[in-house]
Symmetry: C2
Subunit: 145 residues, 2 copies
């Protein structure tokens, strides 16, 4: 497990009319600050390349479809430096994942349906603090199959 | 048009792998404060009954599917008191709607697909400031067909 990464099961209430999905409230003990909320849709079978932020923390939930999320701790001062962590997210595991800055993430949608991921990040989008790392980079010791 | 209701077109970027949907950032001129982010899924053909908040403002976007959103201004001190406003939201109209407290809202999903609505509200959920009004109430001069 990577230090400071947190996975919390989220509540989802459904009936014959639809569902309500809770995600994040300022009253939650693990809420830090609000920077931006945005969504990513990724088609089944697609792998999103590695992304890491130098200041922004991510709070992610997969609302529909399913993804496998892989994290890599590239923080030099971390007790879990170099660790890989895999997390299943989606309709069958509706959870919030907190990804601290400095931890790289990549994901793959699977199961035939496109996956929709919400990120309620602690800072607004800023390309100056966002680093992309190619999927075939030797810097990260993980190979998607 | 109802006073203080705002509709802003949102950006959506798509390619053959998927899409990114922008929603709300603390840098947006119309951002007030963050209380809670949650989602509602509603099946096609279903009408969600009237809801009104006494303190919380809503910021809504329909990420998938389509809804017709109807607003009713029940604020006694509003220049548009008693007005009805209809707004189409969804895949074909990806927009943010700001609904001030005191304005009642109801929606219907249409088009055969379930609709997913995000609400980035200014206050956390609190049943003490949330009022539900039945669809057949005579208080609101609007009849869904």
């Amino acid at each position: 497990m990577i230090d400071e990464v947190e996975v919390r099961e989220l509540k989802k209430f459904c009936n014959d009319q639809g569902c309500v999905y809770k995600m994040l409230s300022e009253n939650d003990s693990f809420f830090d600050r609000f920077g931006e909320i945005y969504f990513s849709l990724i088609h089944s079978g697609i792998i999103k390349g590695w992304n890491v932020h130098t200041r922004q923390d991510a709070n992610m939930a997969c609302i529909s479809g399913n993804i496998e999320l892989v994290l890599y701790d590239r923080r030099q001062n971390s007790s879990s430096e170099g660790a890989i962590q895999k997390i299943s997210l989606g309709e069958d595991h509706y959870s919030l994942v907190h990804i601290p800055h400095g931890v790289a993430y990549s994901w793959k949608a699977f199961g035939g349906a496109s996956a929709l991921i919400a990120n309620c990040a602690t800072l607004p989008h800023n390309p100056e603090e966002s680093i992309k790392i190619a999927l075939d980079s030797k810097e990260i010791p993980y190979q998607w199959q």
